[in-house]
């Protein structure tokens, strides 16, 4: 299993899909406004799930900011061994 997800890793993942540098990612941004589509979200989700985070597409898609994503991801991260 890949290394557990960290905030830096999270930023880096987002940055790749947003064509930004990790430090340019604004966590208050809305994923939709930032230009993500369902396929990108699904692909991101697959990556995060492979690090042991138990989340579903619907849960991610419901969020209206990247900060909410991180909240969700960090909460679920703890549930896994």
């Amino acid at each position: 299993m890949p290394a557990p997800l960290t905030l830096d890793g999270f930023r880096a993942d987002l940055a790749e899909y947003l064509y930004l540098e990790p430090h340019e990612v604004d966590l208050d941004d809305n994923p939709l406004d930032a230009g993500l589509d369902s396929l990108r979200i699904a692909t991101l989700m697959e990556g995060w799930r492979s690090t042991g985070v138990d989340i579903t597409f619907v849960e991610l898609a419901e969020c209206t900011s990247f900060a909410q994503w991180w909240q969700l991801l960090s909460a679920r991260r703890g549930d896994t061994p």
Partner: protein, 1424 residues
Amino acid sequence: MTVRRSLPAAQEGIWTGQQLDPDSPAYNTAEYVHIHGPVDEAAFDAALHQVVAETEALNVVYVVDEQGRPWEAPAPTGAWRLHSADLTAEPAPHAAALAWMDEDMARPVDLAHGPLFGHALLRIAGDEYLWYHRVHHIALDGFGLSLVARRVAQVYTALTAGEAVPDSGFGTLESVRAEERAYRASPRHAEDRAYWTDRYADRPPVATPAGRTALPARTFHRRVIDLHPARADTLRTVARELSVTWSEVLLAATVAYLHRITGAPEIVLSLPAMGRLGSVSLRVPAMVRNILPLRVPVTPDDSLRDLAARLSRELRAGLPHQRYRYEQLRRDLKLVGGRRRLSGPGVNIMPFEYDLRFAGHSSTVHNVSAGPVDDLAVNVYDRSDGTGLRIALDANPGLYTEAEVADLQEGLLTVLEEGLADPDRALGARPDAERAVRVLDGGPLPAPARPVLHLIADHAARRGAAVALEHAGDSRTYAQLFGSARNLARRLAGRGVGGGDVVAVALPRGIEAVTAVLGVLLSGAAYCPLDPKAPADRTAHLLADTAPALVLTTGERAADFAEHPVLLLEQPDTGPRTTRAPSAPAPTDLAYVLHTSGSTGRPKAVEIGHGALAHFVAAATHRYRLRRTDRVLHFAPLHFDASVEEIFLTLCAGGTLVIRTDDMTESVPRFLDECARLRVSVLDLPTAYWHEVAYTVSTGSVLPESVRTVVIGGEAALPERVDRWRKAVGTSVALLNTYGPTEATVVATVADLHDPALAPGEVPIGLPLPGIRAAVVEGELYLLGDTLARGYRGAPRDGSRFAPLTDVPGAPRAYRTGDLVRVDEDGQLRFLGRSDDEFKISGHRVQPAEVESALLTHPGIREAAVVGQTLADGTRRLVAHLVAQSPAPSASEIRVHLRARLPAAMIPSAVEAVARLPRTDSGKIDRTALSTPPVPQAPATGSDLERTITGVWRQILGADTVTVDDDVFDLGAQSLQAIQVANRLGAELGRDVRVAWLFQHPTAAALARFLDETSPPPPTTSAAAFLADAVLDQGIGPGIHRTPGAAPRRILLTGATGFVGAHLLAELLDVTEAEIVCLVRADGRPEAGARIHETLARHGITLDERARDRLTAVPADLARPDLGLTRDTLGDLAATCDAIFHNAATVSILRDYATLRAVNTESTAHLLRLAAVRTTPLHYVSTLSVAPPASLSPEVPEAFLPAHEGLRYGYQQSKWASERLLEQAAERGLPVTVHRLGRVVGPSGTGYVNERDFLWSVLRAGVPEGIVPELFEDEVWTPVDFVARALVHLGLHPRASAGGPVFHHATLPRVRLSEVYDWVREYGYPVRCLSLARWRELLPRSADVAATTIAFFDAAEQADATDLRLGRIQADNVRTGLEGSGISCPPVDRDLVFRHLDHCVTSGVLPAPEAPLRPRRATPPRNS
């Protein structure tokens, strides 16, 4: 009052789309989940029912208000059944399951009544199940479907584990609506709108491979390919390398490919977008899917890398605005309707995780349909189990053939492969540059063409009993037709006629003519039809040129062919004959020779080979979608090549050719009536005649419902008539405009004039048929392909018309048509005119030179110029301009001269003497000047009627000199013009005007006198129809005699799925030991059986096992002569049934006769034919409503009834006509009985109520509102169980029915409506009785009363209030017949009505009364 809500934009778009074609199943979406493991069917059923109940979107209907606006109304889905079937016994279970799904998908959904969904669980192997889930797209989108599927898996898993079912977590539809409302009010909405309207302000052209648009069809072509996992991996790798997603790579490849085949500088795709990100709808099964347009500029040098980056940028810029509705954007941009569109082919990528588990068992999901396909749709399913990607290419069959879809798919994958192999390679290169010659290719034939004689022989061998021909009440099966044709072929062979010969056929349209044509072909010879009405002189010329081996004709015409060997068709077969069957003709052998007008002054004989004929038949059958069930009218005479189309297309498809009688075209309204009576489904009409039909349907007449396709051809269709037609008929009936010279076998190109995308005024001639190519060289049309004629026969040869076309690669042989055309933006051909002087009159090609040379044979004519003129209203006529010698011959003298030499269509309708002909500067005759028609002036003299008549004639003849005393035929009027005048006079005068009258009264004065004296016939055209139907075929009479009295072993019953029918079935099973064979409308035996058992269950009838074993359900279609049965089954039933109970009928108070006749009247004729074979008794269930009202007859005799004025509604008419058939059968000695019933109410024992019953639906609507209407004073009521017992007893005991054959099941006193209402009040419903109008007014629209009932009241209010109450009803035959049987009718009283009301309350149909005045429970029934 129930709540109704306006439709959100997403649903409204779909609702509107559905209204374009209400019977289309295209909006059904479906998928199936393949469950790899055992399924507990009961638990699955329970899970489905729970999930359906908790899914709000499945518990609504879509109703329409008075203004035609749609509303969504909650409507809890009542009882619905999971279709469960074990297919493991099938040879190919999975394929059988898919076939079942296909059938289910083909059923349209009634949005106003629902249900909107369907479920099936199909077992295909021991532990393999397919769960099929269908939903109308208006309710759910793809994501919504996945939410439901996930929930079903969850509930099912919990149920099987015996665990508590977790909450669904579904949000409400209201939350979605609220979110949408908030969005619309937000600044965000305005921003999104600004983004899109700005981005698409230039309304970019939309390029597609088809180059045209079409309405979404009812189905679609689909090509599925699974991208190998390795290729899918490459796709993902390349995507990462290009910093895009794999879906963007697929989109880029699609754009590159579309550019490659269209050459368009910009491609605009349609992208379905989930529209749920950040939305409450992520947890609501609903329809919220949106579509985003995606425009991508392309150049041939672009690589996958270039395109992917460009496309990704464009997509990411648009995505944040994805909530703005596509439908709204089209409105904003004024891109609604016509051929206007915002975006082209769709690419739908579905990345949802979808690995459902059912009680631990894994599953795979397969899409069945994603909804209608406008043009092309690439659907990509990510099969998350690592097996790669599935790509389904869906295409609109109106735009693409299956072969084209295959090519498109292959091309798309090729571009994808090229791009993946080298992302930097230029993808847009198009091999061929723009050419000077435009070639339109009809694409390949769907299947190789088969020789026409093989196809027809096949039908004769396999479906010999199917009807091939019908003419004036006479008919021939395929076996009979083929048999007679073969006999004729042997006779011809006996006369030495065979391959290489031509046989002239001089026969009028009819069964013999078609038989003759086939017989000649079977002999190996070719046929050459002669115009029976052509002048002898011309016929002699044709025969001399053609040199037939034989003339095939009838005795009365034999003298016309004295100089040729003649074979008389009707002569007994005495000549030498050979038993050796003639050998089958080769594709290169000649099939027929047809004559057409020649520019050198003589007719030309076109030779068509068997290969060309076969190719044409295959192509046109495919393009017209001709089916075996079609009934095609044979309109054209044999010497017109349209007859080739009618005869061979129909017979090769296995359909029925309905041959027109001469009097059918007496008037256009009559023609339409006859087409309705004959149930014609395909009309093939000369355009000139269709112009009249279009005019007539636009002035009040109705195109018969049976007609689904109209093919026109022969000359250019008038845009004005096309527009009239489309306004009157709409676009649901296919209107195919065909173009083609005889030299290319009947038809070369076809256009869909019913295409709603066609702008008004547009009349294309379309695209080539499959296998045919059209080349446009300097504006002139050349045709290429296998349907070209061999050439012209005999002298004069005009070989230059057939030559290799060197402008096209390979220099294929081409026919130069002489027609000038243009290819428009939509890729379709438009006819512009002729490159020479040829002119078309009533579909005849007329070369003016041929007419001129005939004119110049007259000694008094020095110079002649003949031109065609098109008058202001589109009427076409031929005008001769003559320079005469002195003394000048009169116009009528000239016509007499021409009539002896030319066919009628070639005789000029105007002859004008001039001093000299106008010349152009170069000295040629100035034909343009001569072609300008004069402007007719309004007549000034005569009575109003006379002026109307002369006015119409002036218009049609294009002459301003028609006076009231002119004989219009002396003025050159022709048959077609007479048809036009009759038609227009009919419309102007508002009455039927027959063509024959114009011939009988050729002056306006005489016709006006005649019309004044003849009062118009009653306006109801259907009156004639039902009287005409009520004539029993002469062939039906007693067959093999039978000894009556023995116990019946087999009984045939129709209508067992009805209320009365179910009780008849139960009674027959109860009192006989016979097998009861029920004919049921169903697709197969299992479905037929299921329908019966469903009916029995619904009516609370249970059968013991022995009874069940004696019940046989057979799928059938009573409206068809063979009852929809195979010949074997039909023969078996005729041989073994000892009695027939015919109870089936469509009971409708609203439908007109034309729509009821097939099921209600013709079925009786078909069953009588079956019964006659062994003189089997037939018992017919009729209705007291066929009786005359008291105002016409104080007493209703228990006997057959003559026709009367009270037969006003279609249902009455159809039942009366049925009885009339039985009356004739009885007169001929067939054992029949007729049982007239009144209102049949629920059985006396159970109190069950027939909810379909009219009166009960009135109570159901009125009682909750506290109001009931005044409907009638009193009527006959009979409990259903009594009727069934009495009817069966009378039917099976000849002694009991001795008093018959008519029986009135009306032995009880009539029930007074006021008394019924009193009982309703006593029961506890305080109802007020109102006049019908008032009741109707107060009744809420939403009240639960069947729509047809409401419609009936609305109609009844308009109708005059003639009292329909019946006089005293005799019923002695029933009383006598039942004596000693122990069967007596229980009383219809308060107790019975109470029991009915109890039933209504128990079953929830009516609310329980609040304060019953009496104990609610009725006293138990007495003695029953």
